[in-house]
Amino acid sequence: MSSTPLLEVVDLRVEFETESGPVTAVDGVSFVVDDGSVLGIVGESGSGKSVTMMSVMGLITDPNARITGSIQYRGQDLLALDRDEWRSIRGTEIAMIFQDPMTSMNPVYRVGWQIAEQINAHTSLSRKDVHLRVLELMHQVGIPDAEQRIDDFPHQFSGGQRQRLMIAMALSCRPRLLIADEPTTALDVTIQAQILELIQTLTAETESSVVLITHDLGVVAEMADSVQVMYDGRIVEAGTTATIFNDPRHPYTWGLLGSMPRVDRPRPERLTTIPGAPPSPHDRQPGCVFAPRCVHHQPACDVSPPLTERTGDGHLDACILPLDERASLRAAVLAPTGVADER
């Protein structure tokens, strides 16, 4: 592995000026994506996970937004790029797929044309070669009868097929980094399984790195090498997927894991819940972002805990509770086997 990581984000802060005052959507986020790795970013709505990656993609163009910090892609500062320089990065180096393919495809253009547009923007292939490349891509993402369907419109495809076409577009120029923002949230589980498998095989072939944004811890466990959990604009826990699931350290992560009903475990009488609702970004308090909803909250939590390594295994968390104390608290939330309830 080279010394320069593929992507390095340092102290990223994204602020929006609104009528009711400034809103900090991302509040000092730092992370690294290595070559050929899959990073999962997990969080609920409003946690800042999408805004973080939209910044990396250069898609925050709101004049009221203020982005500070640094985003280095292979040593190049993305925040310093102008529009033309962005064009040489977006698509060829970094590509993105979104939750709803219907809103990111143009409904009045034929899908073949839309995929070809990507290729034309970044390469100088002949018309015939572009056509062949489009067919090859459609075939690769598993669209049956690509020759017949290349001139169809987006609405003529099913939701799962549209997501396949989005993936074809995103991967058309073999980007080194694919950002997937909730790519399967709108799909049924059996189709989700197909799409996740497709992302896995195709990115493995091109050795691309993936940043997967999702609220579904199950999807992350399946796909990611490392995970960061975001809450209210901050990363509260980050580490390898194995540690996040086998030895989670932050009370918010426990809450998330506990509130997911599971098909593979005995059925508990009740689900564990996180009390309260996700905070509004307007009323950010000093101190730990999760403190207002944390059942283990104590006075010391009113001092903002930094995301630091506390164990020597490279795992980061932002919680001030002593580690030995946390183990017993966690056991209470995440009993490995719930109470079997044969109603």
Binding site: V189, A193, L196, A221, P261
Partner: protein
């Protein structure tokens, strides 16, 4: 359903079919075909139980929920509620019956009028059904808000002032206003964040206990359905393919479709994929306008044989000694 359980059945559907016309383009809009959204469905819901209705988008589960409530008229079959045939109920009779059956919708932001105060939203069913004086209605609204974990003073606020989870609580309060016996909840938690989803699932379970409610819980998420349901019905292309006790259907499924659905649910555990055998179904769900012959699942089924393409398997008991667990498959697991 065996005879001794007959007496506590609150809702029964028998051979219910609902189809929608496919019309040609142009002026005449001639009917060119039919979408059989619900096809010959029979089921019974027992008093105070939760029946989960699960399946992928387009399987007909929401249409069935609406037909059961008489929000849509069935094209064939009968619906019985509390021992009475309600299939053709009209006018005042239908309205009176509606007090006893209510619905909670998926998206609380589009099912609550943004221009009305929460108090007015919850009071609407009370006013329509002439619950009582203004003061009595206000008291009932306050009581309902507390019941769902909100505060009485919230009555004067507007829906946009609430979070998604709180808005769903308002939707639940409105559904419970008239003390219904049956609530159909159509994807009530799928628009919510994980931590909020768990709160609403627990709330629904608590309310069921307190108020002796019967639920038909419609969802695509098997994990949520398994958590809340006593019994589960799995739908595919407008038909029930498996029905039985929740833990039996989810932990020892008999239909290959149920098994594939379960195996596709991502598990928040490292290495879960390798431990479990995942059945990745090929292809998309076929169109309801042109459903496959024989067993509707046969084109995607890993166990299909020639008989599956020609003969539709009936929904029959999985074992001879119990008629609790029914499956429609020639080669059950």
């Amino acid at each position: 359903m065996s005879a001794e359980q007959n007496d506590n059945i609150i809702l029964r559907a028998d051979g219910v079919t609902k189809r929608f016309p496919l019309r040609s383009k142009g002026l005449l809009r001639r009917t060119t075909g039919w979408i059989h959204a619900v096809n010959d469905v029979s089921l019974a819901v027992r008093e105070r139980e939760t029946l989960g209705l699960v399946g992928e988008s387009g399987c007909g589960k929401s249409t069935l929920g609406r037909v059961l409530l008489r929000l849509l008229d069935a094209d064939a079959g009968t619906i019985e509620f509390a021992g009475r045939d309600i299939t053709n109920l009209r006018g005042e009779d239908l309205r009176r019956m509606r007090r006893d059956m209510q619905i909670v919708f998926q998206d609380p932001s589009s099912s609550l009028n943004p221009r009305h105060q929460v108090g007015a939203i919850i009071a609407a069913p009370l006013e329509i059904h002439r619950y009582g004086s203004k003061a009595e209605i206000a008291d009932r609204v306050a009581e309902l808000l507390e019941l769902v974990g909100l505060r009485p003073e919230h009555a004067r606020r507007y829906p946009h002032e609430f979070s998604g989870g709180q808005r769903q609580r308002i939707g639940v309060a409105r559904a419970l206003a008239l003390n219904p016996r049956l609530v159909v909840a159509d994807e009530p938690v799928s628009a919510l964040d994980v931590s909020i989803q768990a709160q609403i699932v627990n709330l629904l379970a608590d309310l069921q206990q307190q108020l002796d409610l019967t639920y038909v819980f419609i969802a695509h998420d098997l994990a949520v359905v398994r958590q809340i349901s006593d019994r589960v019905a799995v739908m595919y292309l407008g038909r029930i393919v498996e029905i039985g006790p929740s833990l039996t259907v989810c932990d020892r499924p008999a239909h290959h479709y149920t098994n594939a659905l379960l195996s596709a649910v991502p598990i928040p555990e490292v290495g879960s994929v390798s431990q479990r055998e995942r059945i990745v179904l090929r292809g998309d769900v076929p169109s309801l306008a042109n459903p496959p012959s024989g067993c509707p699942f046969h084109p995607r089924c890993p166990a299909a044989t020639s008989i599956c393409a020609t003969d539709r398997p009936p929904l029959v008991a999985r074992t001879a000694d119990s008629d609790e667990h029914l499956v429609a498959c020639h080669h059950p697991l």
